[in-house]
Structures are given as structure tokens and as C-alpha cells.
Amino acid sequence: MINYIYIYIYNTLVTTYRLISMQLITYEMLMLQPPPAKYGGRHTVTLIPGDGIGPELLNHVKEVFRFSCVPVDFEVVHVNSALESEDDINNAITAIRRNGVALKGNIETNHTMAPSVKSRNNLLRTSLDLYANVMHCQSLPGVQTRHKNIDIMIIRENTEGEYSSLEHESVSGVVECLKIITRNNSLRIADYAFRLAREKGRSRVTAVHKANIMKLGDGLFLQCCREVASGYPDITFDSMIVDNTTMQLVSKPQQFDVMVMPNLYGNVVSNVCAGLVGGPGLVPGANYGRDYAVFETATRNTGKSIAGRNIANPTAMLLAGCMMLDHLRLYDYASMIRNAILTTMNETRLHTADIGGQGTTSEVVQSIMRNIQSKGPLTTDL
């Protein structure tokens, strides 16, 4: 009699386990699958150094990864922004298609060249269809800012809108620039925003627009957001006009939770938020597509004026590296490096010049590596 009860309980447990694991598998299939590790558990990631402070910061990332024995190999692809031909960037795009994941610095766009020479960064984003740019702005306790307790996620449409690069001069002296908004892309980005909000346990999504002036364009974007919002009743949805948004951000940024918006407003709002939490050196950003993911600093600065002087802040690029490790499912390495970075930032308070300190880049990186060594399992020599 007792045996039957045991068998019955065992069967129920097994069925429940199977049901739950099937649900988890389907859920995981919905989210972006990272590429499988090749060659004995080591991932290959494309590295694009870019211009300005990009090369030196990415060198530091390589250093930290090598030191922490992270199973990632970098395939370096150089893109020369001074050339007019697009071969370099096409090589980079092919490399990213091959590896699936990339870490990049910003490639400079020289706007004294002819208008037909398009922005390389933009070309990369549109070719790989990296439709979502995600940025998480959080106040760090170790950094002095005017506003405290900021925790905003910004999801920005990354491929269309004002950045379509479709311009023409119909009459001499009159230039038209087209801003394209499509239903498909707006639905896609709104869906991404709500899924991410649900996954991270966020309660509110705000759409930022200017639909009172651009009635058709931003009106379509807003309508798509509303449609998607109706499918997520547990998440509150509201909208705000972009100029009011910037005004609210500088007076009361704590009211915002998750924000979703088209391309240009995303540029403005993400830079404002990065400035509010302490500057361009602190926030990492990620560009996600259906099949590829590219990680970089959130504000995409080349930092030409501070290049080569060992004063750039490595935090943003290192945190972008950690986001990449999370994406590759190397969670332990990611949290180890991230904790070391935050310890250096908040406890040791070793800051670079942009956040008011006097440390150099190498000093900060050394401090991070010491933190990793003291807490981590296995490292190479310092």
C-alpha cells in the first residue's frame, strides 16, 4: 500500500518536473540563443578596436580577461575610418556573422568627407539588424552625482527612425532628410521592451515620442507600443513627450523605470541619463539583434581628446565585457569581474579624472585585478 503511494508521488513529481523543464526550454528558445562554444569550451568573440580611447580600453579588457582565465578568445578586426571604401567594415560584419558576438569601440565618422561616406557604426548596426539598444543606468554609491537612486533601463530602436541615412538635395540649398518609422520595427522593439521589463521584474514602461508634432510617424510608434502593452497587463504603460521627458529627467529622474523610444530620442535620453549617473565612462551598452549581439559603451564616444593619455575610465568597457560574458552564459566569470569593478568603484574609491578622482586607467585596472585575485578561484600572475 505504502509502495503504491510512493510510486504515485514519484510519478507526479516526474511529470511536474518534465512540464516545468519543457516550459523553461520553450522560454529559453524565445530569448536570444548565444552561439555554442567551439573548440573545447572556448568562445571566439570579434573585437573591433575603433578609434580614440577604444583600442586602449579594449586592451585592458583583454588583459583582465586573460588574468581571470576567462575562456574567450578575441578575433581582432581593424576598421580604418579614414578610408572611403567599405571593405573594412564589411570584413568586420562578416567576422561578427561568423562568431555571433562582438565587443567594439566607437569608429569615428569624419563629417568633412563626402556625405556618401556613411557612419561605420550605423552601417554595422543596420547590416546585422541589431534592432535593440539596451542601456541600464544605475546610480553607483561610490560616485558623487547631483541625483541619487536612479535606476532606469533605456531601450532604443537601433536601426531606423532618423538614422536611416536617406538624404537628398532636391533643389540647390534645400536638403531633405527622411525619417522612416515602420510598423514591424516598432512592434518588434516594443515587444522586446516589455519582455525585458517582465524578465527583470520591472513594473512600468514609458514610451517617449513627439506624436503631437509628428503625428503619423511617432503616432505609429505610439500605437504599436499601446498594442503590445495590451498583451502585458501586469506592466503599466504610459507615454511622455520627449521635451517634457528631458525636463523631468533633470529634475526628478527617480520617477522613470523602463523607457522605450525611437532612434534619435533614444540618443538624447540615453546621453542625459548617462550624464545623470556620472558620465560616459560608467555605463555599458548592448546592441541586440535576432542572431547577433554587439557590446560597447552606452554613449558611444570616441574620446579623441583623452586618447593615449591613460586617463580614460575603463569601467564602461569592462562592464560591457561583463554583459558579453552574461550573454555567453559565463555567469560566474561575469559576476566575479563585475564585483571587482564595483568594489574598486565603491569601496576602494579609486576614481579616474572624469568622476573627480586622480587615478590613471592602469591603476584602476590593476586594482580591479587585485580584487579579482583576492576573491576569485584561479588567476594568472598579476
Partner: protein
Amino acid sequence: YVSFLWSYTKKCVIIILSLNVMFLYSASQIQTVTLIPGDGIGPEISTAVMEIFDAAKAPIQWEERNVTAIQGPGGKWMIPPDAKESMDRNKIGLKGPLKTPIAAGHPSMNLLLRKTFDLYANVRPCVSIEGYKTPYTDVDLVTIRENTEGEYSGIEHLIVDGVVQSIKLITEQASQRIAEYAFEYARNNQRASVTAVHKANIMRMSDGLFLRKCREAAEKHKDVKFTEMYLDTVCLNMVQDPTQFDVLVMPNLYGDILSDLCAGLIGGLGVTPSGNIGANGVAIFESVHGTAPDIAGKDMANPTALLLSAVMMLRHMGLHGHAKKIETACFDIIRDKKVLTKDLGGNSKCSEFTKAICQRVRDLD
């Protein structure tokens, strides 16, 4: 004794005659300004401003007009002809907040005014107010925004179902006009530098044209320093350190966003002045906040925005003495914190606030 009396009388007559001449001279200096009270709290704050100007003895005479849109011959919406005629004659206007009813069929009133008088430049000086604390102190910048074209041309098409295209228009003529105005403004108001805000790395041709025109204007005004900066860099630096900016000139959309950002830095639209400069010497100064229908008629409104716009107007007309007097009185009252309206953190009425400023203006005399 008689000769003494005679010389004394002569002196008195001379003094009285010269006083009369002076009075006549200053009387001819009284300028007429078109006043558009607006809707909602508009009439209250306009009355407040008129009272304060009266106390300051500013040589301004007000001509009130209404600009509710009417449909002219041919069905085209336009502002009433007497308002247009008054504005064309006086050249200077002060406007309160206007409401745009949603289903009225006519475009927004502000848009109508802009088109009628070709108001091509929107100037918004943002100066930190000493008594009104915000996280940002020492803000002192001016945003000059192109107001007629750019992203707000309103040209949109539905290409196929699900694809919408908005056209951003940049013309050589408008860019040149705004760039010239920006440098003239910098020169006339002793500002050291002008920064052009653009996104020419992405919008190569359109912002490239704007930038070229700014560079050309900079060549003609070598005494003012000229820099160019990307929009995202400006936003990033503005929230970290707004003191590094002086005069900013930019196309329509960036101007909209940045001018509201700067207004947020100093405390919001309730304390920000604004001026619109048009062709043919027309200038309309306005308060940019809304009509606030929920507090209309309750004597709770804050007239600071309209008052500071009126002060901007006085400076534009060259009456710097009166402008300084009224501005100082206003800032003193806000700094004292004894009589403040609700939005500034106090609980006084609009009329009390106005009386306090009037008293301070008279004391400063």
C-alpha cells in the same frame, strides 16, 4: 528785492519749461506694445505684469488683443486682422499661454502666429534663479532655436501600409538667417561664444548644410568664439556641468529638446522666459508654460515666466535700466522666500506676490 524776485521767477519759469520739455521728450518715448493675455491663467498674469510695469514707471503702453483663430475668406485659418495690424504697427508683443482646442479644426495657435509673422528664432535665456533651488547652480546659457523648418515641417506620408516617412527639411536660407541672428545676439548681449549643436555624423547632408552656414557666419563675426558639438555630447555635458555652455544655436528638433532640458535645469517652465524673433523686426515674447486651466481664476498663478519674458522684451527695446530694476525686484522677492506662489514652494496668492514685487520696485527707485 524786486530784481531778486524777477530773477527767481525767471529761474522758475525756465525750470518749469525744461521740465515740460523733458516730459514731452520722455512722453514721445512711450512705446506701445501689443499684449495678448491668452487663455487660462493668461489674463491674471498679464494683469500682474502690467501692475509691475506701472510701479516701475516703464514707458510702455499696452494694447490688448485677442488672437483666437478665425476663418478668413477661402476657408484659411488666420488670426484676427486687428491683432495682425496692431502687431505689424507696434513690432513688439507680449503673449500669455494660448490653448489649442483638440478638435477645433484649426492648427495650433502658436503655429499660426509663427507662420503669420515668420518668427524664425526662438531665444530662451536660462539663468539660475538664486532663490529657487535646483540641483544645478550657476546656469547661464542661451538656446537659440530655428523655429520654422527642420523636423517640424509637418510633411509626413504613409508610403505603404505600416511604413511612415517624415521629412526633415533644412534650407540654406533659414540656416543662414538663424546663424546670423545667433552671432548678432551674442555680440549685442556680450556673450563670449556660440556653439552649434548638430548630428552631422549621421545626418550628413542636412546637418552638414546647417553647420556650413554656421561656419560662414562665424567667419563674419570673428570676435565671437565658435565651436561645434554633437547633440549627444551636449546632452551628456549639460547634465554634468552646464557652466561650460554659453550660446547654443541649433535646428528645430534639437532646439526643442535642449531648450526644455535647460528650462528643467533652472526650475521648469514656470520660471523660464522666451522670445520669438521674426522677420521685419517683429518680436513676440511669451511665457512657455501651459494655460493651467485647473488654477485659472483662483489667483494662484505664478507670473514669473511672463514677467521675465517682459524683462527680456525691455532689454530688446533698449530699456536696460527698467529691465534691471524689475528683474532685481523679482529675484529679490524670490530669494527672500516670504511671499511665494504655490509652485515656488510658498502659499501666497498671485496678487500678494505681485504687490510684493511692486513694493520692491518702488523701494529700488
